[in-house]
Symmetry: C2
């Protein structure tokens, strides 16, 4: 008997895709398989995505305040819009919770969702609420637009492209470890509780001819770089000495007892952006990005003809996180 555990999340998505009719309508520009679905409706190109967060899978109430759980759930859905270069416009919010859930917790949760929405220029338009038999379930649908009809897919990377990433990956994962251990480490926990979808940066990057592909960093750098490479039928080699290791790790890394570079490679829920950039244009892009945004943009490797993701030429053990296989 085959179960979800055997298939994994990607296997299940492939299976569902195979069950869909072949004749997708012309107004579905991109269906299952990228960060968002891309639709043409009226005069606009719409980007839509949904993202579920379940208690004891994606978050634990004992080490995370309701406000942070809500913010993170909304940021995660909105980040998919950022990854296509879109503007976030509306959210639909589904919340299911056991009957004995304190309303104070639900208020906090909703305030977090509402806060992230406001920060990102999106409006909560509706949703659904219901009882759950066990555990809190949050599902956020984000609806955005592609400015001028332009958007960036994950599949355009070419061998020789620079693999670059925004910000300081690994901080969110480190923040979770700090929360679980009860360690005070504000720059880490803040990144975990209030990740900021890179909307302005994504829109800016999506307008550059030299940027060939983009994805948001939700499953870990290794794994998300793998998604870009796989979509293009190529590979990538990551330079461990080039990884962006946040200065905050120097101060707090020892407190939580982890190797920062391992977190940079595997930490998920960072909601930074990973891009594939034409090698010849990289230096100019980095300079222009630095002039526009107060955010790091770091070359962490190169895309290669050879398939698979390698670190300094070797296939690493840990290739990210799959919700069905792990735990």
């Amino acid at each position: 008997m085959t179960t979800l555990r055997d298939l994994g999340e990607n296997g299940l998505i492939q299976r569902f895709r195979a069950l869909l009719p072949d004749d997708a309508p012309a107004d579905l520009l991109t269906g299952i398989g990228d960060d968002c679905a891309v639709l043409r409706l009226g005069g606009e190109v719409l980007l839509v995505s949904c993202d579920a967060s379940l208690e004891n899978i994606h978050f634990q109430r004992r080490c995370m305040p309701g406000e942070g759980i809500g913010w993170k759930a909304a940021a995660s859905a909105i980040s998919d819009i950022a990854a296509m270069g879109g503007e976030a416009r509306f959210l639909l919010v589904t919340i299911a919770a056991p009957s004995d859930t304190e309303t104070a917790f639900l208020d906090d949760l909703f305030r977090g969702i509402s806060g992230a929405a406001a920060h990102c220029g999106a409006v909560i338009a509706g949703g659904d609420t219901t009882r759950s038999p066990e555990g809190v379930v949050i599902d956020i649908m984000a609806l955005g637009v592609a400015p001028g009809g332009r958007y960036m897919l994950r599949g355009g990377a070419r061998p020789g492209d620079v693999l670059a990433v925004t910000g300081w990956p690994g901080l969110s994962a480190a923040g979770l470890l700090a929360l679980q251990a009860g360690v005070e480490a504000p720059p880490l926990t803040e990144k975990h509780l209030h990740p900021l979808p890179r909307l302005a940066e994504g829109q800016w990057l999506a307008r550059r001819e030299s940027v060939h592909a983009m994805i948001d960093l939700s499953d870990g750098l290794l794994r998300d770089a793998g998604h870009i490479a796989e979509a293009a039928g190529i590979g990538a080699d990551i330079d461990p000495d080039a990884l962006p290791v946040s200065p905050a790790f120097r101060e707090y890394g020892r407190l939580i007892g982890v190797d920062p570079r391992a977190l940079v490679l595997s930490g998920g829920e960072e909601y930074e952006l990973i891009i594939a950039v034409d090698g010849a244009a990289w230096a100019g892009l980095k300079k222009d990005f630095g002039a526009e945004f107060e955010l790091e943009l770091t070359a962490a490797g190169r895309f290669t003809e050879l398939r698979g993701i390698r670190v300094a030429g070797e296939i690493p053990d840990e290739t990210g996180f799959d919700h069905f296989r792990f735990g």
Copy 2:
């Protein structure tokens, strides 16, 4: 300590509304509180809704096949588009399931969702899959358009309007009882497993000047008539002798041992439409509807200045179903 049980579903929605910023943008035409949110994007008026179905709250796997669970979950979301007079276009599908869930069940579930989508002219554009700690969770987001920018809200009913309903309410609820009891009753179980959102009927009704308000029958006739009345600040009186009692009840009602009229009044998940119609125009509307559709349209009562929902002038005991309060 206040919990969800004390608030109820409507109380929670009111609470969330109060937490939202006051300054809704001009392109949010209708936010929380109707069947769909109504948005203006590009040249179109969009209708969006989401609807969650949880195992052991909304369905039980032991008495329902995966295909029916999926169909029903999709139909429920699409029905919200029908209730505004819209065309269904796209679905996003979130599915969470325990790791040990059989993939054969998930295939069936997805086939049901896909079947309902195809029947309604909608396309599955994307979604999310993840592991759940316990029980299957389905959340469907339906995205539709209002033809010519015209849509029908639930709040326009006036005292003296006829309260009318399409089809045979109660059949779906009876079908569930038949499934639970293991009784063979195809016209009942089919209505429960494969409800048909009334899209064409909703579009037709939304174009008629004499139709003042519309809602889909998801929580039961009494309760959904109450939603229309409450939105207009009025009431309604239902005539128990005028209720549409399906001929199928004559054949199967005794097998499942229930009073058909009780099911007609309280049965949810029927996905028929309830409308408020100008009294002077009712006879003409009914005639025109009958010429257009092979579906009953029955006057079951009148809207009244006096608030509250009454049956033959009396406040009934059972006013519908609230997911947080019951069970």
